[in-house]
Amino acid sequence: MLDTGKPLVEMTDISISFGGIHAVDRASIDLHSGEVVGLLGHNGAGKSTLIKILSGAYKRDEGEIRINGEPATINNPRDAKAYGIETIYQQLAVADNVDAAANLFLGREMVTSLGTLDDAAMESKAREVMGRLNPNFRRFKEPVKALSGGQRQSVAIARAILFNARILIMDEPTAALGPQETAQVGELIKQLKSEGIGIFLISHDIHDVFDLADRVVVMKNGQVVGQAKTSDVTKDEVLGMIIMGKVPAGAQPGPGAIAD
């Protein structure tokens, strides 16, 4: 059962505004271990902003974050990583000018006993992780700039799983990928889920996430429209939530739901 025990992540009544515009308005969302939650909404619905608060890229104005039931202080990406929160960003957050291994270990480099970078050890580990994720990947010595979009995305995903994340945030993880690579990412998500990792999948495209997610949360205009288990609703009903904010019978309405 997914609902037993304390949620891994609980974000309650989170608000943030930029220059008077409420990008996120009293949004609440939770995630259990071994669960995949799809966070859906149009571009500008506030889903990326909400999740960036969890990953430490933005600081919330109001609200509370609990990790494993304990109140968490997340002021920057370093804090989030300390809680085991890893993020894969929409805009492929890799440093283009350094190689795959350097990107995988960025911020957490392996060092030798003398304190210098242990590039060979990092490359070896990178080959191992990338081999699991994308067996055709060969270009370990080249700057990431020279790689294809899919290869860059596999670097970004490898980066997140390398450090045994407990909470994984994937912002449009397959947007830049071809069909084969998308299928690989799907397999990977199932594998990570079986290892007990909680995953937020963020997308504006319902087809990307509906089959992978256990539950979907829909946002519109910075507010949560509602949430539902994917077994209780159809894709069309979720589409109705995304587009019109209309909450179907199988779903639980949120503050952003329109009254009938």
Partner: protein, 439 residues
């Protein structure tokens, strides 16, 4: 081709190329851009030698060239890191000026009289240098903190610094020139005394050659340990031969430049050595400022390529947002870069004041432009993320070669500026073409 995967993972990519030159370049993993710069330097040197009637490629001129390059070479290693992180430092010449003044006043007035050490005390040079380094790091740290934490663009902060520190240099002594420097301190400026002589130069050459061979050996062993593709053995040997050969050639040239006749005679007299017929031949050997610059180059290359700090510098230059999201404390790294730049300015100030045997107001004027130009000629991209210490050092040598060569040929100084300016633009244009073709 039954197992293409196994093949690609353990064979070196050089084995698939037929053209011997291309194969050599890929096998040795030599940076072709760096090779191009060495080629350009060779053309400049041979050209000047031809047009100056054989005056350029003499031990004497090359030795002087090395000493003249030292100060800018020290600073350019820091400027690479500054520019790689998409910043700029326009204040390095002024920092050099004010730190030079502070060190001058320390060793001529404060330490000998106020601290009562007396002139010529052996601690004076150390304490002066330490004070200079502290002031340089402090200034760099202040500028870096304003850039990183108050978010004022580096261009503006260091443009302000350019004016502030030049003014501060004047203020230290109300514009008076400070001279002469402490006799030990002066050694940092070169000259017959400030060179290490033939024997020690060969010792250093030996150590450097050993380091090159050991470095190649350990690199190879490390790759063996993880079963990575390796360079062919012949490529490793060529690299060792080229590296050691260049080191030995440089030391040979430095040793081929004798002390001036008068100084050698005086030395012989003082030490009771009989002067043989045809004069006494005492080698200069490597000049101390050159040794400092080479040491700084090695340390900075190590910092840039082998440490976390260096890795962060390049990652920040490639994608500042990704670096921040990866949990790197980008602001503190920025402050550290500028502190390092300040320290390097202090070392350059020591070399310049020691060489001139005086600290003056004008010391370091326009140096910021030469340093930036050297970094850019050396392949540092102003767009950030790209640049190497070795390339920048070569860039500094190219700039200085142009200037010395034109002086040797008796070209008027306004024309010298015009040529240097045009070369800068031309070099960057060539670099743009190179990068466009590469991708």
């Amino acid at each position: 081709m039954a197992e293409p995967r196994a093949m690609t993972s353990t064979t070196h990519s050089s084995q698939t190329v037929q053209n011997p030159l291309q194969r050599f370049l890929i096998a040795t993993e030599i940076d072709t851009r760096l090779l191009g710069m060495i080629g350009a330097l060779a053309i400049i040197w041979i050209g000047f030698n031809f047009f100056s009637g054989g005056l350029f490629l003499t031990p004497r001129n090359l030795w002087n060239l090395s000493v003249q390059t030292a100060s800018v070479a020290v600073m350019v290693t820091g400027m690479v890191l500054v520019i790689v992180t998409r910043n700029i430092d326009l204040s390095v010449g002024s920092i050099l000026g004010v730190v030079g003044m502070v060190m001058g006043v320390m060793q001529t007035q404060i330490l000998p009289s106020q601290f009562g050490l007396g002139l010529g005390h052996p601690l004076i040079w150390v304490l002066s240098l330490a004070t200079g380094l502290a002031v340089g790091v402090g200034i760099g740290g202040l500028q870096g903190a304003i850039i990183a934490y108050l978010r004022v663009p580096a261009f503006i902060v260091t443009l302000g610094g350019y004016l502030v520190w030049r003014g501060a240099a004047w203020w230290v002594t109300a514009g008076r020139t400070v001279a002469p420097m402490d006799s030990t301190f002066q050694l940092m400026g070169g000259g017959p005394d400030g060179s290490i002589g033939a024997l020690w130069s060969w010792v250093i050459a030996g150590v450097a050659c050993a380091a090159i061979v050991i470095g190649l050996y350990f690199g190879r062993r490390q790759r063996q340990r993880f079963n990575f593709p390796q360079r062919p053995v012949w490529a490793e040997i060529s690299l060792a031969v080229i590296g050691c050969g260049a080191t030995i050639a440089a030391v040979w040239v430095a040793n081929a430049y004798p002390w001036p006749v008068r100084i050698a005679e005086r030395f012989a007299e003082a030490n009771g050595i009989a002067v043989p017929e045809g004069g006494l031949f005492i080698s200069h050997g490597i000049a101390i400022p050159v040794l400092i610059a080479v040491g700084v180059g090695v340390v900075m290359t190590f910092l840039a390529t082998r440490t976390r700090f260096g890795r962060y510098v390049y990652a920040m230059g490639g994608n500042p947002e990704a670096a921040e999201l990866a949990g790197i404390n980008t602001r503190w790294v920025t402050v550290k870069i500028f502190m390092l730049m300040g320290a390097l300015c202090a070392i350059a100030a020591a070399i310049s004041t020691a060489r001139l045997n005086a600290a003056t107001n004008a010391l370091g004027t326009l140096d910021e432009l030469y340093v930036i130009a050297a970094a850019v000629i050396g392949g540092t991209s102003l767009a950030g993320g790209v640049g190497s210490i070795a390339g920048a050092l070569l860039g500094a040598l190219v700039m200085q070669s142009l200037q010395s060569g034109m002086v040797l040929m008796g070209i008027d100084s306004p024309l010298q500026s015009i040529v240097v300016g045009m070369v800068l633009v031309f070099a960057v244009w060539l670099d743009t073409l190179y990068r466009r073709n590469k991708h």
